[in-house]
Structure formats: structure tokens, C-alpha cells
Symmetry: C2
Subunit: 135 residues, 2 copies
DNA sequence: ATTGACTCTCTAGCGACTATAGGGTTTATG
DNA sequence: CATAAACCCTATAGTCGCTAGAGAGTCAAT
């Protein structure tokens, strides 16, 4: 049942340093220690960290995850903050998507300016980068 | 013709600190100094920094920009490295786009799990985040 | 002479870790 | 039982591309 940090790391797929970092940032409760000062975890710790990992995979920041975890400890309050966080995050992702799509298009256009191996002084990409004034 | 760093900053739209940072990272040549130890720039500096700014707007890293600038100083070599950099960068952007699109879809699906303000213990979002095991 | 606007260097901070150094602990093997 | 391998500890520095600040110096105008 009990395990040390290495086992927890392989059970969760997180790195040992990441787990210690989450502890320092107060996303996970301070674990107990063995006689040799090793951190001791159990199955609850695994679930807790898998929750965090899943949120990180969705791109949530540690502060956002912290807020979700806080709400989880107050099961009788409303979950409006949760909806708020997800909605905000969706908006951020949408904005970033739009930016990246524009970028992609500009890069594609730029790439067509050079056929293959020309002399650098004749390279259409360099010319374009040097001449274009603003996006 | 000559100008100090503040003027250069407003001519290029970059911050003063960014310009000094580019100098430190050797993306721009060490500028001359006035008697009072102020950096002195000219029109060439403006073009140089606008080039950098344009590349940054395309998401290129400072190292990539450094490589482009190096090629520009060797006008008789081939521009194959330039194509290489752009191609690599397009690939990075494409990968990131795919990731973000998946993320967006997962977030959208997650958001539908909660109607509006329920009690936190009944919130479908929290439940989903806690139960889903892997992406 | 004193303000104010500008500039200088140096340092710390952001986010979310990773990597290293220099130790201590536990476990397995001979 | 001794030793080596594997594991763990803390503390610190580094990543990237800047931003923000402290504390000092310079230059123009009033
Ligand atoms: Zn967010
Ligand atoms: Zn070319
Ligand atoms: Zn790139
Ligand atoms: Zn809810």
C-alpha cells in the first residue's frame, strides 16, 4: 500500500522532480516521512497526482488546478468557479489556435518564395523577411 | 541619422530591454557609444531589428534568427539552411496546432458535463477529471 | 541649481519544470 | 558483515524571452 516517490512516479507517469515541485507549490499535501526521511505515499496520492496530470494534459496552469482542487474540498458549494475556469481556458486555447493558424499561413507563403538551393543573396525568403515591414 | 536606444525602440516597436537583450545574445552587433556611454544606432540598426521583430512575429526562436542572420552575411553560399529552418519551424507549428485542436475538443467535451451551478460534489466536470485515466 | 527625461549596469522574476552536485539510506550480493 | 548499487534527500542553477526594478550616471531645459 505504501510507496516511495519513485514508485509513485512510475505509477503516475510523472517525474520525481515534478512531484516534489507540486508539493512545494502546494498542489499536493505534505506527505508523511519514513524513519530515513523518505516521502511516503499511498493510493490516494496516486489519484491526486493523476488528477493533476490529466489537468496538465488539458493545458491548465498549476494555479487553475489549485483552484479546482480547492473546490473539490468543498463539495457543498456550487461549482460555478469550475465552469469559469474551463470557459476561460477554452477562450485562451481558441485565441492561441487563431494565432497559430495565421502564423502557419504566413510561414507557408514565405516558404514558397524560395525554390531550392539558390545563393543566399538571391533567396526569396531572406528578401521577404528583410523587406516586409509589419504583419 | 544617429539615435539613442529610446528612439530606436520607438522606431522598431521593440522595448528598450528587448534591444539590450538581443545585443547580449549577439543577435545585433555591439553598437558604438557616445561620450556619456550611451549606445548609438543608425538606420542600419533599425532594419536589422525590424528583421528580428518580423521573425519573432513568425514564432522563430532567437537561435533560429541568429542562424538566418549568419546566412545573410554569407551571400554567396546556398540558402539551404534557410529552407531547413523554415521547414523545421513549419513542422513544429503544425504539430502544436494538432495538439491544440485535440485539446480544444477535449475541453469542449468536458464543458458539456456540467450544466450550470450544481453542488461541487455533483459537478460532472470534476467527476470527469477525477475519473478519466489517460488521454 | 535643480528638475525631469533619458540612459547605464546588475539583479531578480515569470512558468513549469529539468538537471546537477553533494550528500544520506536502503537493499542486494559476496 | 562489508560493500556496491539503487534509491532518496536538499539546495541550487538552468531553460526561454523577455519584463521590472534598484541605484546610479548623463543631458537638456528652466
Ligand atoms: Zn488557462
Ligand atoms: Zn532560398
Ligand atoms: Zn522553430
Ligand atoms: Zn459543475
Amino acid at each position: 500500500m505504501n510507496m516511495k516517490i519513485g514508485t509513485l512516479a512510475s505509477h503516475t507517469g510523472l517525474s520525481i522532480q515534478a512531484i516534489r515541485y507540486y508539493e512545494q507549490q502546494e498542489l499536493v499535501p505534505t506527505p508523511g516521512r519514513s524513519s530515513g526521511n523518505y516521502r511516503i505515499y499511498d493510493e490516494t496520492s496516486v489519484k491526486h497526482l493523476v488528477f493533476i496530470k490529466h489537468c496538465r494534459n488539458l493545458g491548465l496552469s498549476l494555479e487553475e488546478i489549485k483552484a479546482l482542487l480547492r473546490v473539490r474540498t468543498k463539495p457543498d458549494e456550487t461549482c460555478s468557479e469550475i465552469n469559469h475556469i474551463i470557459d476561460h481556458h477554452v477562450a485562451v486555447v481558441d485565441r492561441r489556435l487563431t494565432e497559430l493558424q495565421e502564423l502557419r499561413q504566413q510561414l507557408g507563403a514565405l516558404r514558397t518564395k524560395c525554390g531550392e538551393n539558390q545563393a543566399a543573396k538571391d533567396c526569396g525568403i531572406l528578401r521577404e523577411l528583410f523587406e516586409i515591414t509589419s504583419p
